[in-house]
Each structure stands twice: as structure tokens, then as C-alpha cells.
Amino acid sequence: MRLTIAAALAATTTLTGTAGAQDSGYSQTEVEVMQGFKAGGGSDALAQLVQPYLAEELGVNFVNEYIPGATGAIAWTRLAKQAPNDGSTISITNTPMLTTNYIMNPSITYTIDEITPIANIVTDPGIAVVSSDSPFQTFEDFVEAAEAAPGTVTVGNSGVGGDDYFTSLQFEKAAGVQLQKVPFQGDGPSWTAAMGGKIDASFTNVGVTYPQIKDGNLRALAVFAEERLPELPDVPTATELGYELVAGSSRGYSGPGDFPSEDRDAMIAAMQRVMDNPDFQKAAADQALNIDFIPGDEYAAMLKEQEAEYQEIWASIKDEVQAK
């Protein structure tokens, strides 16, 4: 029985890192980190990578709390509405789900105005992939096919409300084409379907497909990043092909509204030191995590910008999607 309770406790919380003695200016010694997804997912990978280093820099203990459900909305509602704003509670915030959740569902009531963005840590850029035996050799082939027969070229995404779904919508707008969007439950099923030729293409992310691209099972047509990626130097960006499209899936940290500004500054400074640490950089590279450090107000601005953009897109297609 005692073991049972111990196991249940272990399931609830996982202690990471150790409390250092140095004074970093952070007001708390223990920080609860909420994650809106199950243990072992992408958010957890970020937590397990960053928090041991951050704990040392900041001199605090991090305690992970997994609150899966409603694509993170349960955790973020708690962050916005209930979490104490004394620096003792923060949450991993995933974009675009952080904003698309409440844009798409009126019953989700938190907004980004009720949280304090701390910093973005990683971004997995979007990418368009096709099977290695696909007739589409280039992104232009793909666009031409979509123009020639509107609504018939099937393109997978990781689910309605996810980054790839909105990337497809943004692309449709930018290129003036109509795709047949097929939502899957996660990136894996989406690119697998493309690889097996079940769908014509998949809009997915670089980190999850890179091994398959490297082995020649998938062909990358374009990346949705600002610049060409060092690991895929031959793959053009959508921007250089003439489509204004930079998108991806990002994960960072945010606190509740009115988070103490000294704590926020202390944490951002500590994160900056972690990002500069070569050991951390190597660990991130080993896991194929693409560091995209966007601190403080810039992160807040990025979220605001996304919110406005997605609100506009959703308003224009909402009736069409939900009338089905």
C-alpha cells in the first residue's frame, strides 16, 4: 500500500535538478512547472533538457506537474486563473496552441493577456514533405498541381488547431490555392501517411522528419523558416520562393499574470546563461532540438502577433470548417 502511494506520488511529480546555493535574485526556492501534456511528450523533452541547467543557474528546485487535456488548455486555464503569482508557479507554453485554443473554442476562456510570457526556448520549423517516389520534385510542382485542381491535393497536418493546420491555412492564403487538408493525431501519423503515399504531401516539422529526409524516405520541398537550415542546405525556404510564410511549433515558459518582474528578469538572465552554455548546446543538438531563444517582451510581442494573425484566419474560415 505504501508503495502504491509512493508510485502515485511519483506519477504526479518528478523532481528535477538540485538547489544551488548561489544568490540569483530569484524569490522562491521551489518552482512548480505545469505542462499541458503527458510525461514523455515534446514539452517534457524541453523540461528535461532545460531545467537541470536552469535549476543550477537559478538556485531553485523545479517540480514538474503534468496536466494533460484539451491540447494544454486545462493547464493554461489554471495558469491564467488560479496559479499564485509569487514566482512559485510557471508553465511551459506551446505555440500556436496557446492562442488557437481559445480562438477556436469559446468555452476556453483564458487569453494571453492573463499570463506573463517569460521566454521562448525552442522552435521546430515547419516543412513540406512528400514521399520519395512522389511526382512533386519541387515545391513549384506541388503548387502548380494545387492550382490546376483546387481542393484535390491532399495535405496532412498534425491536427486542427496545431501549427501545421494553421500553416496550411496561411499557405492557402499566401498562394491563393485550395488544398484538401487532412488532419491526423500528431505529426507522426501525418508524415507517415505522406511517406506511404496515402496523401500527396504533409505539412509537418523538421525535428520529427529529419531522420527520414536524411535517409531519403521523404523529400523536403520547402521549409517555413526565415533562412535555409544548416542541416538541409538544399531545401529552399517558402519565402525565397515568393510565399510569405514562416511557421513552426515553439515551446517556451510563461508565468501567471502579474508575475513579479524581478523574478522574471532573474529567470530570463539565467536562461540566457543556460543558452550560452556549450554543454547545454551539445545536449540540445543531440536531441535535434532547434534553439530559438526569444526573451521577455519579444516573446510577448510574438504571441500577440500570432494571436492577431490566427484570429483573422479563423474568422475567415470558421463557418466553412464548422458547418460541415
Partner: protein, 516 residues
């Protein structure tokens, strides 16, 4: 190249340190799996952080053995307490519990252990020999094919309805309806959530399963009290190892169920739960004594147990060959690979061949270890059975509450579990079978999403299911499986039989219960 990795893997796995990791993984897995609601997926997720500091091969060997042992652990609770420890053990309850009730708990557990060994070794052998080849085949299963597999799975409902077929169908329909709760995959619209965020992700069937199976049992135990002797949680008094004759009798069933397990495991998105029901159904279909199923029949234990352990190897095949997880547990395992700095996919067989083959060998060794540890450890379960009813009942409730909470760390899920407990109690009182509800709940979301995806791919035309050879064949089998359960099929059989006498025997064979 591959040959040398095969040997390197073997010599890695027999390192004392790695064998110790397998032993530890087996013990922990059996314990966690035996607890209601603590699934194999959770066992892996819990242990994953512990492996960070281990060598990749040691950590992966531990995780693999944990996964296998959790599968068996689930059946200990299923047989002794009528409370499946993992969803994959739910089918074991049907015959395992009655057999334990009749004083043969040891035999039931022994059969489960032996079947697990056969299923597990089969899948490990499959894993070692054909993993590099099978990856391509898996790619042929997209939404259209998976929809057809799920339809075939739904036909299992017909055969799970002990007693009234109408009540069974009703229960299955309720399960399918409950599976509709949550966000619609293609529109993002929440359905039947009544504004509760906790229902946006749908009903977690593990939570429902704990309530449906364990609460009615706990209530039954408490209501019965300690006064009457007789039905307590079953004791393991008899010998566990099956006799030579029993062993020979279970071989064909184990082999068939093991093959089903490997096959189901291969298909992404379906896991031990689907495989065990599928195997149970097939065992019943092939059996000459169908009426014995549900009353404590050996074949009814062997089939799901061989299948749910065989799933492990099957599910690892696409994970390793292509980096496509075949089940939620292998998805977590895949996370473990990435933690150790190994990118999944075809490169696992080349760049990281030594670690990969260590993992494959570890699956084989873990199966043998599980058999040995199981023989020793399972006896310890007798401790649980000596506790009086009025203690066991509440303990089941407490375990169910902890288990349902721990899945998503959600208090809401405790309420959901209790609600399903009440449904289970009502079903029991009205003699409505609960397993069809579970099948509906598991397959509902798969059917829902793959149907919508297929129609999007096919431009809204249902013809896509018949243009695709794999799905067409599977759907025809499903149609036959439904038809053979109706009186209609029997009369066609007789009609043809009258015209062409020689056609009759094969029809009787293929057509399950056509002779009723």
C-alpha cells in the same frame, strides 16, 4: 553488417549489468501492471527519467522488460481481482476470473504466464528476424486500411455478447456513443462536452475501464461481507505450471493468438487491448466448445495473454524499422531512444545497430526472465487474497481512485471513473454485458478519425474503401463475420448445402455459429 550487430547485441545483453536491469525492469513492471489503472505506458513513462543516467543499451533493456512485465502484471489483477491492471488484460477477466473462482487460480495464472512466454518469444523472434524487412509493409496501412481493421474489430462485439445479442449490441452502441465525446478531429468542434474542458480530449478509456470492471466487483465484495465463506479473492493453491498435456493443448491457440498479436501490434494506433479481444474472439471462433467460453475456459485465458505479449514485438517493429510507434507504449519508448541521443528510423539499424540489437535481444531475454520471475512472484499474490472481503473491497476502490487519478493527474477522472463504476453496477444488475461497451469506447475514436480522414482523402466518396485492396478484403471479412452470426447465413448455408452436398462442411467450419 547485420550479422555482426546481431552478435554484438547478444554479447551486450548478457553483461551482468544489463541482465540486472532486465530483472529490475521485470519486477517493477509486474508490480505496476498488477495495479489497476497503471498501464504499461505509464510504467515506461515513470521509469524513463531513471534511465537517463544509464547507458543507452541498459536503459532500453530495462524499459523493454518493464513493458513486457506490465503486460503480464495486468493479468494477475484480472484473474485474482476481476480488475484488469492494464487495458490489454481486460479480455483475460472473462475466463480468468471464473477459473480462479473455481479454485484454479494457480492454473489460470500459470496458463497466462505460459501463454505470455510463447507469445513473447514468438514476437521477439519475429522482431529479430524480419524487422528490417517489415517496415515497408507497415507503410501500406493508412487511414483507409486502419478504418477497415477497426470495422473488423467492431464485429467482435457480436461474439462478446454472452447471453443476449440485443443487449450486447446495445452496450456496444453506448460505447461507440461515449467515444464521440470530445473534440471533432476535422473541425475542432467540441462534442458532448457541456463546456467541461476535461472532456475536450474525450473519455480516457483506461479510466472508464477501471470504473466498469473494478467498482462493481468491489461493491459485490463489500455487500457479500465476510460472513459467508466461499467467494473471496481467489487463492493460488494449485500448481501453476501446466501439465505436459495441458501445454500441448494450448500450443495451437497460443501460436494463432501470438500471430494476431504481432500483426495487430504492427499497425500503428492499435495495441494490446485490441489484440487481446481480437485473439479471444478468434479462439472462440475456432473452438469446438464455444459455450465454455466465459465460464473459466483455458483457451479464453491463453488467447488474450499470448496476444498481448506478442503485441510488444509487433509494435516495436515499425518503431525500430521506421521510427513509427505502433502503440502508445512504444511511442514513449521512442521518446526514450531520443533521450539517449538516438534518432529513430532506418538509421537505427545502421548507425546505432549495436544498441538496437541489444534492445531486440533484451525483449527475448525479458520474456524468459518474466516467466521465471512470474513463477516466483505470483505466489506472493496469495498475501492479497488472505485479506477479508471487507478490506479487499475498499482497497480495490482506493487503488481504482489512485489509478484513475494517476493516468492524467486529474481529479475529474476520479469522478469519471466512479460514474463508469455506477454504469457497470447498473449493467450488472440488468445483466447487460460490459465488454462490448469497452470495445466501442476503444474503437470509436479510431473509426471516427479514420473515416473522416479517408473521406477527405477520397474527396467525400465512400468508394475509396472498395478501391483499396487491403480495406476491401478486410471489410468483406467483417461483413461475413456479421452475417455468420445471423440466422440468415445459416439458411443460405443450408440452401447451398441442399443443392451441392459437398459444400456444406466447409461452410460449417468457416461460418462459426451457423449451426445454431
Amino acid at each position: 553488417m547485420t550479422d555482426s550487430f546481431l552478435l554484438v547485441g547478444l554479447s551486450n545483453v548478457v553483461q551482468p549489468y544489463n541482465l540486472l536491469a532486465i530483472l529490475a525492469g521485470t519486477m517493477i513492471g509486474m508490480f505496476i501492471g498488477a495495479m489497476p489503472g497503471l498501464s504499461a505506458t505509464m510504467a515506461i513513462a515513470l521509469l524513463l527519467p531513471l534511465t537517463y543516467s544509464l547507458q543507452p543499451e541498459t536503459g532500453l533493456a530495462m524499459l523493454a522488460s518493464l513493458y513486457l512485465a506490465a503486460m503480464y502484471g495486468g493479468s494477475i489483477a484480472a484473474i485474482l481481482l476481476r480488475t484488469p491492471g492494464t487495458p490489454a488484460a481486460a479480455a483475460t477477466v472473462i475466463d480468468g476470473y471464473p477459473m480462479a473462482q473455481s479454485g484454479q487460480a494457480g492454473k489460470a495464472l500459470g496458463l497466462s504466464l505460459t501463454a505470455s512466454l510463447i507469445g513473447g518469444v514468438m514476437s521477439a523472434a519475429a522482431l529479430l528476424s524480419i524487422a528490417p524487412l517489415l517496415g515497408r509493409i507497415v507503410l501500406n496501412f493508412g487511414p483507409v486500411e486502419i478504418f477497415a481493421v477497426a470495422v473488423l474489430g467492431i464485429t467482435i462485439i457480436g461474439s462478446l455478447s454472452a447471453g443476449s445479442a440485443i443487449l450486447g449490441l446495445m452496450s456496444g452502441a453506448i460505447g461507440l456513443l461515449l467515444a464521440m465525446v470530445g473534440m471533432d478531429l476535422t473541425t475542432g468542434t467540441p462534442r458532448f462536452t457541456f463546456g467541461y474542458l476535461n472532456l475536450f480530449g474525450g473519455i480516457d478509456f483506461t479510466v472508464a475501464l477501471i470504473g466498469l470492471f473494478s467498482i462493481p466487483q468491489a461493491v459485490r465484495l463489500i455487500a457479500k461481507g465476510d460472513g459467508q465463506s466461499g467467494e473471496t479473492v481467489s487463492k493460488v493453491r494449485d500448481r501453476m505450471l501446466p501439465t505436459g498435456r495441458e501445454f500441448r493443448a494450448l500450443i495451437p491457440n497460443s501460436l494463432r493468438s501470438g500471430a494476431i498479436g504481432i500483426f495487430v501490434g504492427l499497425i500503428p494506433g492499435t495495441g494490446g487491448d485490441t489484440a487481446s479481444w481480437f485473439a479471444y474472439n478468434e479462439a472462440k471462433r475456432f473452438s469446438k466448445r464455444k459455450s465454455e467460453f466465459g465460464t473459466g475456459c483455458a483457451a479464453g485465458i491463453v488467447a488474450p495473454e499470448a496476444a498481448n505479449n506478442a503485441v510488444v514485438g509487433g509494435a516495436l517493429i515499425p518503431t525500430i524499422a521506421l521510427g513509427i510507434p505502433g502503440s502508445s507504449s512504444t511511442a514513449v519508448l521512442l521518446g526514450g531512444l531520443m533521450v539517449h541521443g538516438i534518432l529513430p528510423g532506418p538509421s537505427l539499424m545502421t548507425d546505432h545497430g549495436d544498441v538496437t540489437y541489444t534492445l531486440l535481444w533484451a525483449v527475448l531475454f525479458a520474456n524468459v526472465m518474466l516467466f521465471l520471475v512470474g513463477l516466483l512472484f505470483t505466489r506472493a499474490c496469495v498475501v492479497v487474497t488472505r485479506v477479508p472481503n471487507r478490506v479487499v473491497g475498499p482497497v480495490i476502490v482506493v487503488l481504482s481512485v489512485i489509478g484513475s487519478y494517476a493516468i492524467n493527474n486529474s481529479v475529474f477522472d476520479i469522478g469519471l471513473m466512479i460514474t463508469f463504476g455506477m454504469i457497470g453496477l447498473a449493467f450488472d444488475s440488468f445483466r447487460i454485458p460490459t465488454p462490448p461497451l469497452v470495445i466501442g469506447l476503444i474503437l470509436g475514436p479510431i473509426l471516427d478519425s479514420t473515416l473522416q480522414q479517408s473521406l477527405l482523402i477520397g474527396g467525400g466518396s465512400y468508394a475509396i474503401f472498395f478501391q483499396n485492396p487491403i480495406s476491401a478484403v478486410l471489410l468483406v471479412i467483417a461483413a461475413l463475420s456479421v452475417l455468420q452470426a445471423t440466422p440468415f447465413f445459416g439458411s443460405i448455408g443450408r440452401l447451398i448445402g441442399r443443392r451441392k452436398g459437398q459444400l456444406r462442411p466447409p461452410h460449417r467450419q468457416a461460418g462459426g455459429s451457423a449451426d445454431d
